[in-house]
């Protein structure tokens, strides 16, 4: 058999277009969620654009991207979503003939509608996240196209409890030809409110351990053992379990850890009443010590919410279960807002409503609601930090991406003081995609922010120059071109935070990664190459003040994950033997993209 070179070149061009736009869209979603999509390039067969050899019956394949079987007149389609994540009728090693989870962009779009490919890549991958059609939020009675009436007809207004964001005419999840939606398929892209909805769904705040002052009992590590040893608490789902990797306290040589099953009191260590994969484990110092963090298992729906109270300082590795029904459909924000003891509170933020609550906990893990005005009715990204100083209560800056406005709250005993302003004066522009990275980049113990704009837009470093009465910033412009996964840590043990700009080299847009070591507003860059597509977990495992990285790979057979150990003396990382991580798990408190 011979290859028709002309047809082969066409196939290659279309393969690259499909791949490039889908990778771009998925990176866009990844940046605002805790998700990581890994493109298994070795399974691609670009000469077979209908789907190649990628088989959803393989254990490590979640969905397949293809050009055939966009059913009927559909130009794009996705049938993979949260509802069928655990559906046994779909393909798996146990059911190799099961249905396929697919994302489809029709061949004719790749041939004659290439300007629309970014829209379909963003829209169909949005369905994979679980996002619904945005035009369903408007009555389609008068719509000219029948397909506008597929979702919510006869029209019923979307309940505020189901709405993630305000109705968005420019959402990539809308059909521009339908009532309410605007724009064209050649121009619509993942927008600010799309990203906000993804953030609300898949991100949740944890205690920012690196943002706590030692003077008030802060510890810059995630510790679960009740002492000086740092660790990783793995959350394994279905059935639910917690496994701790407890690292030795002093490790001049090889990095050693022991694995400890963290059970619930006298209950079996495998929990029988899991929430069906709905739990968000929220890490915080709610009841006790920063050396033995608690976990709040929050189910955003009606399933049970429980506080797992860490008893390690009481010489027990078992967590105590405290049933704690929490508000549904809320975004938990963890910070030390009020209590001088150093313990954390949870602010239950319900975007778009006026029913937010601030909870504090006592030593037994019992919660009580604080009588403070903490209602935030707008749709915003909460950025907790110690912008005034780490010896003050946690402040919150509420950022609205669509108009770049900021609400600022500072907490003082018995009061919340609120201000409203615009980030534009400091360079941050409305509608531009930003990741507000939080860290102490100049080492002055006040939280700073790096406004990273993926792509070509300007980036800004805001160094806090605040005092107890006012939040003030010095702004510096940077140019970070390209799309990176930023990791904040102290990679040279000099007491201030640095940024590792990680870029998986295997993607079309891949390339070098960069490490920025900060010295005030100056940076010293150095290049790194990281070939794999990993979930990085940054932590100082060996207590030398220098942040190490576990490059967690949940996809590779047996899950071997490389571990980079930071060497502060010679400003390098050393590669330890890869560690086999638990299957179908993730670390509690794993960072999102730094915000």
């Amino acid at each position: 058999m011979s290859i028709n070179e002309e047809q082969d070149a066409v196939n290659l061009e279309r393969y690259l277009l499909f791949r490039s736009e889908l990778e771009t869209a998925l990176r866009g979603w990844e940046r605002h969620t805790r998700m990581n999509f890994e493109h298994l390039v070795s399974l691609d067969a670009r000469r077979y654009p209908s789907g190649g050899t990628c088989d959803t019956a393989l254990a490590h394949v979640w969905f397949r991207a293809q050009t055939k079987d966009c059913y009927g007149s559909l130009q794009g389609q996705a049938n993979a979503n949260g509802e069928n994540e655990f559906d046994p009728s779909f393909g798996s090693p146990q059911n190799p003939d099961g249905s396929d989870r697919i994302l489809c962009i029709d061949w004719k779009i790749l041939a004659a509608g290439q300007q629309q490919v970014p829209y379909f890549a963003g829209h169909e991958s949005g369905h994979i996240l679980g996002l619904e059609h945005e035009h369903a939020r408007w009555d389609q009675e008068a719509a000219l196209k029948d397909h506008c009436r597929e979702d919510n007809y006869p029209f019923e207004p979307i309940s505020p409890d189901r709405a993630l964001t305000p109705a968005d005419p420019w959402s990539v999840m809308g059909y521009g030809e339908c009532e309410g939606s605007e724009g064209l398929r050649s121009t619509l892209r993942i927008g600010p409110d799309d990203r906000l909805g993804a953030y609300y769904t898949f991100n949740w705040s944890d205690r920012r351990v690196r943002d706590m002052a030692p003077q008030v009992g802060g510890v810059a590590q995630r510790r679960w053992a009740g002492d000086e040893r740092s660790g990783i608490l793995w959350y394994l789902t279905r059935p639910d379990r917690l496994l701790e990797w407890r690292f030795d306290a002093d490790q001049p040589g090889q990095l050693n850890f022991e694995t400890i099953e963290r059970c619930l009191g006298d209950s079996p260590c495998v929990w029988s009443d899991d929430s069906g994969g709905h739990w968000h484990p929220i890490m915080g110092r709610f009841s006790g010590s920063a050396h033995g963090l608690d976990v709040f298992m929050y189910a955003p729906d009606e399933r049970p919410d429980i506080l797992l109270r860490n008893q390690s300082q009481e010489s027990s590795d078992a967590f105590e279960r405290v049933d704690t029904p929490a508000p549904d459909r809320a975004i938990p924000i963890v910070g030390n807002f009020v209590v001088a003891s150093g313990r954390d509170e949870i602010l239950w933020y319900r975007p778009g409503s006026l029913s937010d609550h601030l909870w504090s906990f006592d030593e037994a893990g019992q919660h009580f609601t604080l009588e403070l005005d903490v209602d935030q009715s707008d749709y915003r990204i909460p950025i907790p930090g110690h912008f005034r100083s780490r010896t003050h209560a946690t402040d919150i800056i509420w950022f609205k991406p669509s108009d770049a406005t900021l609400d600022t709250w500072i907490f003082e005993p018995g009061a919340v003081f609120k201000g409203v302003g615009s980030a534009e004066l400091l360079g941050v522009e409305p509608g531009v995609e930003y990741l507000p990275l939080v860290g102490n980049f100049d080492g002055d113990n006040r939280t700073d922010m790096f406004w990273y704009a993926p792509g070509l837009d300007a980036d800004y470093l805001w160094l806090s120059d605040s005092n107890p009465a006012a939040i003030l910033w010095d702004s510096y412009q940077f140019a970070v071109d390209g799309e990176y996964h930023p990791i904040v840590g102290d990679f040279d043990a000099d007491g201030d935070d640095d940024i590792l700009w990680y870029r998986p080299a295997g993607e079309l847009a891949g390339g070098l990664s960069w490490l920025w070591r900060f010295d005030g507003a100056e940076i010293e860059p150095s290049a790194l190459q990281i070939v794999g597509d990993y979930v990085p977990y940054a932590e100082d495992f060996d207590n030398d003040g220098c942040t190490d990285i576990l490059w967690y790979d949940p996809v590779a057979p047996n899950n071997p994950s490389p571990l980079w150990r930071c060497n502060p003396q010679d400003l390098t990382f050393s590669c330890e033997q890869p560690i086999v991580a638990p299957k179908a798990s993730y670390p509690v408190g794993v960072n999102g993209r730094g915000y």
Partner: protein
């Protein structure tokens, strides 16, 4: 990644055209001598747009850069006398020993509130 070129863009509460000021000549405006200037009482965001208006609310006159400032938190740098004092923490800003962000500016400079919600201005009683 192209070259990284950090540079100072804007200082938070910088007011364009502000001048460093201090000294007795500031106590004379339009040929009128003024009593010793002091910080006004606090006004809320939205009540005024300039310090001239804030002082007028109290029957006073604004004194440009006539009140002492903490140089560490005074913009544009360097400055140790200011016209505006902005903040969020009401007890600290509005108390006897005020703290916040100081701005050296003219009396007619628009207030750049940014993250602040309350303001004091440097005012004096006209003689």
């Amino acid at each position: 990644m192209r070259a990284i070129t950090p540079f100072l863009v804007i200082l938070v509460t910088a007011a364009c055209g502000a001048r460093q000021a201090g000294g007795s000549e500031d106590l004379e405006q339009d040929g009128m001598s003024l009593a010793e200037p002091d910080w006004s009482s606090c006004v809320e965001k939205g009540e005024v747009e300039t310090c001239a208006q804030a002082c007028e609310l109290e029957g006073m006159e604004c004194v440009a850069n006539g009140c002492p400032a903490d140089p560490e938190f005074c913009d544009p740098e360097p400055c140790d006398m200011a016209t505006q004092l902005l903040g969020l923490n009401e007890p600290l800003l509005c108390g006897d020993e005020p703290a916040g962000g100081w701005v050296a500016s003219s009396c007619d400079a628009p207030i750049e509130w940014l993250l602040s919600s309350r303001l004091r201005c440097c005012c004096a009683q006209p003689n």
